[in-house]
Amino acid sequence: MKEKKIKVDYMARVEGEAALNITVSNGKIENLKLNIFEPARFFESFLIGRKFDEIPELVARICGICPVSHMLTAIQALEDAMEIVPSGETMRLRKLLALSQWIQSHTLHTYMLAIPDYFGYESVLSMIPEHRELVEQALRLKRLGNDLTVAIGGREVHPVTPVIGGFTHVPPRDVVKDLLKRFREARKDAQNMVEITTQIKLPDFTRDIEYLALTSPPQEYPVISGMLASNKGLKFKKEDYRKHIHEVHVPHSNALHSYVIGRSSFMVGPLARVNLNYSLLAGEARRAAENNGLKFPYMNPFYSIPARAVEVLHSIETCIDLLEDLKLKADQPSITPKEGTGAGVGEAPRGLLYHWYKINNKGEIVEADIVSPTAHNAFNIEKDLEEYLPQIISLPEEEMQLRCEMLVRAYDPCFSCSAHFLKINKRES
């Protein structure tokens, strides 16, 4: 068999810049590189010396798609470092904000980035003429997520109200009332989404993956806090993150490769979350999954796509409960900085996110450590590809390339995000 080259110079429909280079020769993979050429942004360097209260705002700028996750996780880490305990109302608002972003991001990914592959289009824009209703449904859901983010956070991208200790502002009651109404109406769109994502034909590929996600106390599906756990027996607190997870800098990529110490790559994200926490999903979400024949857990990364849809429905249900419970009070204690270190973990739309800071008594950052979901996933994506390629090797080159891209996209990678965290692995020694 002759040599096949797969070269995607610029991955479309992913956030950030990456290329895929694969050479298969005589049925064997000679070379496989997910090259993240998104330029490095040196966050962990320039955060040093900045004031603690600027950090949430600054780290939001790591990612335009999941700024909420970065903000909230950094806030958690800093509160941890300074021993601040947020109020119940603050936690409710944070959960709402995080879920609003799940809805927005998941809908964006499902309809605009992933589905065109399965419907046979280049992009969502080219789908408009023939599938206008579907696109409108997508936009409606996405707008709903965004409108909740705006109501609580002030704007869709890089919200302004979340601060260490609480919120600077809460939405007026009539806005919440209106949102509640729209959320109730949106159930249908989300149920449709579950249906559509299970109707499309997902490639058949399973691999023995270790998946990692937050798990929370029994009654709650994890969003912004919890223990870390995997299907292969890991269970640890956020403070112990560095005892279990490390990364190496691989020369072909601007992102680091994360792995479980003593083991290998792992997967984070919606599939990991649903697999690990299925029973904690809102009843409606589980029902919709079952009605559509879904049987979690799946070891097939392509099942991230229906997992997202299920999470959207779950988020809508949870938001309705939370919105009904809001007291609409902005708690914002005044804070005197104090020396310390703190870790934060959260479930970004794309999966587990980790922030860790050391601050001095003037409230300046001394050291920072941030690992994004895509940084967690990058290694696993390569591993997946390694195992997936032999299965599709007989396909024509073009088809093979599309399949590889679809696999990468199933992770909804965010390369700007991942490239922000290049770092020396100095804690390894």
């Binding site: 479309a12 429909r13 992913v14 490095a40 824009l125 302004v160 109200t161 502002h169 770092k423």
Partner: protein, 253 residues
């Protein structure tokens, strides 16, 4: 009227401004009636090498590769628009310019050979820019204003006066006068509708300098409000630390 072709390009950034385009759920269909997006990888559109009638560039230029690429893109675009703080002024990526390149790279890389990082600047450091859509992220209305005015062949009506004007119009309690804290609003370009002060937090200057920013005077007031010179410096060296006005505020000559 033939629909103008539009390209959206990404440099060093977080994709937030591009996402703001996709966040125009309510306007998207109308917008697509007016323009023909032919290059927008994040949205999966890659149907052309150009040339483009309008090119929107997100992100700062931070590497030698990017310097070459921005010049190529300029050649291909009749009108080139800087999208967001990064493309306008270098954005928060330019915070790193305060440290030496070596210092930064050593902190994050084991293998320095692969790194071709340069100081982060807005794109007008290297090419001519026809319009600026400020903010971190951009304001959707301003984006639409730029699209509309390009089609009408007029200058966009973006008023770069202080945020205070919009803030006062919204009858917000002034952060300085009522909260006793400092705010970048007086020297920051309006257009966001005083988003932050309207939600009880200080403007952080994400839209860069206003049209006549008296930054030394504001810096003096900040000191009077109890900030240390270092804290004042941090205020100015954030989203637009490479602009002359904000450098002056930071006390950098």
């Amino acid at each position: 009227m033939k629909k103008p072709s539009v390209g959206v390009f990404k440099f060093t950034s977080d994709g937030g401004c591009q996402l703001q385009i996709l966040n125009m759920e309510r306007e998207l269909f109308d917008l697509l009636n007016l323009i023909n997006i032919t290059y927008f990888p994040m949205a999966g559109v890659d149907s052309g090498e150009g040339p483009f009638d309008i090119g929107f560039v997100e992100g700062a230029v931070t590497s030698t590769d990017e310097i070459i690429r921005i010049k190529e893109i300029r050649e291909k675009c009749r009108i080139l628009v800087a999208l967001g703080a990064c493309a306008c002024y270098g954005g928060i990526a330019s915070i790193k310019n305060q440290k030496t390149q070596r210092e930064l790279e050593e902190k994050v890389y084991t293998d320095l050979t692969a790194v071709h990082s340069t100081k982060a600047f807005g794109i007008d450091q290297y090419v001519k820019v026809d319009a600026y859509v400020r903010g971190c992220p951009i304001d959707k209305n301003e984006f639409i204003e730029v699209v509309k005015s390009t089609l009408l062949q007029i200058k966009p009506n973006l008023r770069p006066h202080s945020v205070c004007v919009e803030c006062k119009l919204r009858e917000n309690p002034c952060i300085f006068l009522i909260e006793g804290e400092v705010c970048m609003g007086p020297v920051t370009s309006a257009g966001c509708g005083a988003l932050c002060p309207s939600r009880h937090r200080a403007c952080e200057g994400c839209r860069g300098p206003a049209s006549d920013p008296n930054t030394p005077s504001l810096a003096r007031t900040m000191l009077e409000y109890g900030l240390t010179p270092e804290e004042v410096r941090l205020k100015f060296i954030k989203y637009a630390g490479e602009t002359q006005a904000f450098k002056e505020g930071a006390g950098i000559k």
